[in-house]
Symmetry: C2
Subunit: 327 residues, 2 copies
């Protein structure tokens, strides 16, 4: 980070979501100096999207002293490929759902600064390493619990991209083999994501409610309307069934982490995303199942942490961290 040099003290971070694209100009300490946003879905082709982005960015770039103050830009985006700077077949992006879009190059050409891009979970992992609870760590795994389950794996101080740029899809390890496994959006069955994402938790709630006639606050909600937030609220009020749903979810996450330890033996597992707000309700069963299932040699070695980044700005900070990584 070259803040000391005083020349280019900022990077642009872009948190590119299916609905909103949020831009921030960030300094080396992780202070967001200016932000702006556009609607991702309002553009049919990527040229229009980039033009609108640059128009919005120009205002905040001027606020911080002009493009000469900007070292680089980092983008966290669904289906982002770091090696190629592309977004590839992203189902939720109108201008990238059926092809390969060279988004890093388009922004770099338009702004005249280097641009790097990766997927949102990798951006979250870099964000934790640069600004968050993983500062100083060289081996850790960030698991994002949101609509899906994503992951960013850091090994020897570097993000693990693998041969093709798509490593770190831990939401899609198989947890339930055979015909019993839940159907996953990836076209397979039994993936971790189908149980431990927000939608997976809601599904567990519906299954548990249907299977028994036990009383629960969740019975006041139409089954198809139940969300993981409802489960969290009910559990917070002491609802036993809701607590069991978190037990089930955390147990599966803990068992998955035990397998991940056999792979990369991280110093910490860091959980990120909306579901983490459930706190000990989810973290305690994770830790318990991990300690029950991990190889003895790894027992007690890994920390289980919750992201230290402010939820609203975490994704932009993570994206900006990609920018700092550019040499």
């Amino acid at each position: 980070m070259n803040e000391q040099a005083g020349i280019k003290p900022y990077v642009i971070g872009l948190d590119l979501g299916g609905t909103n694209s949020v831009f921030g100009i960030v300094d080396a300490r992780g202070d967001i100096k200016a932000t702006t946003a556009i609607k991702t879905g309002s553009y049919d082709n990527v040229e229009d999207y980039v033009n609108a982005s640059v128009d919005a960015l120009q205002v905040i770039i001027d606020q911080v002293g002009g493009i000469d103050k900007i070292k680089a830009m980092g983008i966290g985006a669904p289906n982002g490929n770091y090696y190629n700077g592309t977004i590839e077949f992203a189902p939720n992006l109108a201008w990238a759902h059926d092809g390969i879009v060279p988004l890093a190059k388009l922004f770099s050409d338009a702004l005249g600064v280097p641009v790097a891009l990766t997927n949102d979970a990798n951006a979250a992992a870099l964000g934790e390493m640069v600004y968050g609870v993983a500062r100083g760590m060289k081996n850790f795994i960030v698991i994002t619990l949101g609509t899906g389950v994503g992951s960013g794996i850091v090994v020897n101080g570097q993000l693990l991209y693998g041969h093709d740029g798509f490593a770190g899809e831990l939401g899609h390890v198989t947890m339930v083999r055979g015909a019993e496994g839940r159907i996953c959006g990836c076209g397979r069955t039994g993936c971790l994501e189908t149980y431990c994402s927000a939608t997976g938790v809601a599904r567990t709630a519906r299954e548990m409610l249907a299977k028994t006639s036990r009383p629960s606050l969740l019975r006041d909600i139409k089954p198809e309307d139940i969300t993981s937030l409802d489960v969290s609220i009910a559990a917070g009020k002491g609802d036993e069934l809701a607590k069991e749903i978190y037990e089930f979810t955390g147990k599966m996450l803990g068992e998955a982490c035990a397998d991940f330890a056999a792979f990369s033996s991280p110093e910490a597992f860091i959980f990120f995303g909306g579901m983490v707000k459930a706190g000990d309700l989810i973290m305690e069963p994770i830790k318990r199942a991990y300690n029950e299932h991990v190889m003895p040699i790894f027992k007690g070695k890994a920390q289980f942490l919750v992201s230290g980044l402010d939820g609203a700005s975490a994704a932009v900070l993570g994206a900006s961290a990609i920018g700092w990584e550019i040499q």
Copy 2:
């Protein structure tokens, strides 16, 4: 590798097994210039073991022109910790089964050259990268199929050691969850190793023979005497039950590799060890199950290879590769 410099053209490789310790002096091309061996189990304490090793080594060191020709020494050993140069609680080594032995330092002090140490599967992976089928690859996984199932994971051209030096224990990911899982030597149940090691294959044979009354050449052998080699020979003769045992084993390996792809998205999976001699009998079901179970994004990207190193010398070559890595 500094062969061109002409000064120190060799490294010593030590393949340290429970029974034998095999030493080789190896050049940068992977040619073994001289070898010697001692019985690992003949020594009660590590000082005697190192003294006997150095005595044996002295003869072959002199053969290649003296210790000045030796750049370094690499050791592949069970429970080897690369970070500390130690062997830790290795159940099959009399002088290291209940403690932490600083073997790299002991050899370095005795020989006056730098010494590095890692576990045998990591050594195999480095051997493939330096001398074998993984030359030029930066992301691959070596899976050793022997008495146990081991692994060496290479990421960004580096061995994955993790926070504590013990990463890459893929023989101990859980493949069968719950009460049905086979008991593993690591104290847990359902580990990949309990199904896909040589002993796991023999166990599958006994289970399949007991479960049905189908004819099989394996019925000519006392169940408790069946080995994976017997299964391989029977399958080679067209025995249907034996072929099914390999189908079952390969299917589980292929499903496990599909999960490993979600982790590090390697360019290749490389199989190593006695069981690989079964050839297509084991490799075909692995590939088939992998392609059925891997995430669509990874499909068709990874190669499935068999170690190209000569079996007798592979372990020594792998160990010597650790020596070349020392800066």
